[in-house]
Every structure is written in structure tokens, then in C-alpha cells.
Amino acid sequence: MQVTVDLIRERLAEVRPAGLRRDIVAAGMVRDVRLEGSRVHIAMLRGPLPEPVLKATLEEIRKSVGAFDGVDSVEVEVAEATGAPQEVGPIPGVASIVAVSSTKGGVGKSTVAANLACALARGGAKVGLLDADIYGPSMPTMFGLSTRPEVVNGNKVRPLEAHGVRFVSMGLFLDDSSPVIWRGPLVTGVVRQFLKDVDWGELDVLVVDLPPGTGDAQLTLVQHVPVTGAVIVTTPQDVSLIDVERGMAMFRQVNTPILGVVENMSGLVCSSCGHHDPLFGEGGGEALAERFGVPLLAKIPIEEAVRRAGDQGTPLVAADEAQAVSQVYIELATRVRGALEESAASNPLPKIVG
């Protein structure tokens, strides 16, 4: 009789390790069975089996599957049941993740995220940027790259690289003109894929540009990504603190530490005389930070140069480090780095053992 995967599975269902009341298939320990010519490859989870029982079980599997006619070799790959990175768990190789969020659109969140990423890279960190703002992905414009990323090693997406930052954006996978209408579950699927299927390599910091708002999509996102800390971007006139309160509540709900607030569009610096005009009022960021007991990380003035640099495909920090605004971003990056380290040290992920 010709050996098939189903036949092998049937035989595996007869394997019952000592001390277990069910067989290894029923217990969900068999993850994958592949048949390549005369070679059988079985992937299984160790489950709670102690070492001697595991050894005996593997022996039994090899013997009983090897007894099929036409099977020359049986290879069993055993994964430890715990501590293995899961699709929803930490990303291998990525040391810390900072989410850049805003409770409403139009506050310059993506500009802040892009410049922060560049400033972190200038400071010597290996930086990745995930543009999870699927409603209005803007990183391709800001980084001046819109080629579709290559797929490497069969199923991994290689991020694009510009200005020392590796980045991936939904914008790279869409036609320029297609409107983007997403619902929560779809958003989560896409972002999970971005985390799992992108070959980020070794990163010190992954900056995640979240979609604006505090709805379902955002909540699901932060639920599934083990974010080390969140930065909330706001503007001085954002005195409707209720919005921000919602954002804070969202992050608290999923145990994500808030690193602090960035006040963007913090006044206008006149390009001819250097006069600072508090267009949108003053003190919004301070009030907010004080009210919620989180630090005010930076106050970033409106500068035409920031906008121009972004539109031309080089975030200002990468284009002209000497600019006053660039210096503000570099200082912000230093603070974020410090806050991330502190957060990672004081909020370790639980160890799963046994």
C-alpha cells in the first residue's frame, strides 16, 4: 500500500506517551507531517513530557512510521512548547518597540514618527519603522521610496531602507489612487503579517506609526504587539483633553506604558525674523502631561522646512541636522531611548517555563 500523510497521522494517533491519557495527535502535539519521496518529516510540540518519556515517544514514532513500506527515513523536529516566539508574541531580534500614536488625525503624527526614526538612527541605533497607519500611509512619500519590497527566503518581505531606517508601509502595497477602507479584523491581520513576515533583522528600536484615533483597530493593534512604550502626539490647542484621556485609557487597558507626550506644531517660527508665534496657544502639552502624570518629551515648532523636507522624501533630521527643529528631534530621540530602556527594565515580559 502506498504510504500517505493520512496513514502516517493515523499511526501517530496510536502513540500514547506514558502518563498521558490521550495520544499525541489528539493532544495537539503533532503540528505538521510532510512526506517527501521516501522521507518523512514530522514537526511536533514537546508538550509537558519529561525527558525520558519524550525520548521513548520519539523512539516509538520513528519505529512505527519507519515500518511503512517505502519510508527510508523519519525525521522528528521537536519544538519546546513554551517560550517559543508566537505570532502574537515578541518579534525575534527586535529589542524594543515604540508606538507613536495620536488620538485624532492631522497633528503631524507621521512626521514625528519619521523624524524620530531618523534621529534614533543618527544616534547610532538600528531602527525600523512600521507604517501601520493603514488609513493614510505616508512613509513612502516621506522617505522618497515607493518600490514594492522584495520577497526573500520564500516568504519574508525585505524592508526598504532609506536614511538609515528600515521601513515597511501599507502604502507600498497599494496603488496610489485606491481608497483605503479597513475594518478592525482586516487591519489586525495586515499588521500581524507585517510583524511576522517582515525580515527586520536585528533592531534596537522599532517605531510603529499607529493609525490615529482610539477605535477598535488601534486597540487590537496594541493588544497584539508587545509595545515597550507609547508616545502620544498632540497639538497645543488640543485642549479637548477627553480625546487624549481616551488614548491613555486605551494604552493602560493593555498594560502599555506611556513614555510621554510630544507637543507638535508648538508655535510658528517666522522664517524671516525668527519670531516665535504661538499660533495654537501655549501650554497644552504641559497641561496634559501634568494632568496625566507623564513627561512632556518635546515641543516641536512649526517650520516650513519640516514640511518641505518630508514632501521631498527626506525627513528634516536626515536632510539638515543643523536646523533647530532637527536638534529638538535629536533630543527627543535621546529621551525616548532612555525611556524605552527604563520601561523595558521595569516592565519585563513574563517568563514562561516548565
Partner: protein, 112 residues
């Protein structure tokens, strides 16, 4: 604003019988596997509840084959009966703690 959710320091499977969680506030919780499985918080299980007593030792008929970390607020459990849609938030796990301090009059412990 509600208290910050509790966070586990270590989650350990005790053979095929139980799971032990050591919380960051040093509280220790030991859950019989059957108890934990019966309290699976997924929608399907909540619709069709089955509740057992939280007794350790009679529980080897079901155990977590895999435990994964979900974001910063929960763990996922793949059970040996094949069920894997349960996501146990730390808050839920803490509330499920069957120890006498947590279940008895001394529910003070919960507030830490």
C-alpha cells in the same frame, strides 16, 4: 481610573497537572489545569460554560500544550484537547486565583 492590571513575573507549567503564576507583587497562584480550561474566557466557552472545582491533582486529562505571550496584557493557551482560542488577560488570571487569600474574606490581596 482603574488600578493598573497585575503582571506575572513567571508562568510555569507543573507537569500535566497545574500552572503556577508568580506575580510581580510576589503573590503566587496555582491553577489546576481543568479549572483553567473550564474558565477559558473565549466567546465559545463562555456561551457553554463548564465549571469544575479548583482542585489540583485530578487535572491531568487536559493541560496546556503551548503557552504564548499576547502583547503586554495576556497569554494564549493551546490546550491538549485542541482548543486554542482562549486569550487569558492577566486581570482575568489574577481574578481566577483560587488561593484562600484571593477567594476568602481576605480579598485585600487583590488590590495590590
Amino acid at each position: 481610573m482603574s488600578d493598573p492590571a497585575p503582571i506575572p513575573r513567571e508562568i510555569r507549567r507543573l507537569g500535566v497537572n497545574a500552572v503556577r503564576i508568580v506575580w510581580q507583587d510576589d503573590h503566587q497562584a496555582e491553577y489546576g489545569n481543568r479549572y483553567l480550561r473550564d474558565n477559558c474566557p473565549c466567546a465559545e466557552c463562555r456561551e457553554n460554560p463548564r465549571r469544575s472545582l479548583p482542585i489540583v491533582g485530578q487535572d491531568e486529562d487536559v493541560y496546556p500544550v503551548q503557552i504564548g505571550i499576547v502583547g503586554r496584557y495576556a497569554v494564549s493557551m493551546q490546550w491538549s484537547d485542541g482548543h486554542d482560542s482562549g486569550i487569558y488577560s492577566y486581570r482575568t488570571l489574577r481574578d481566577l486565583c483560587p488561593c484562600s487569600t484571593c477567594t476568602g474574606a481576605g480579598s485585600e490581596e487583590l488590590k495590590h
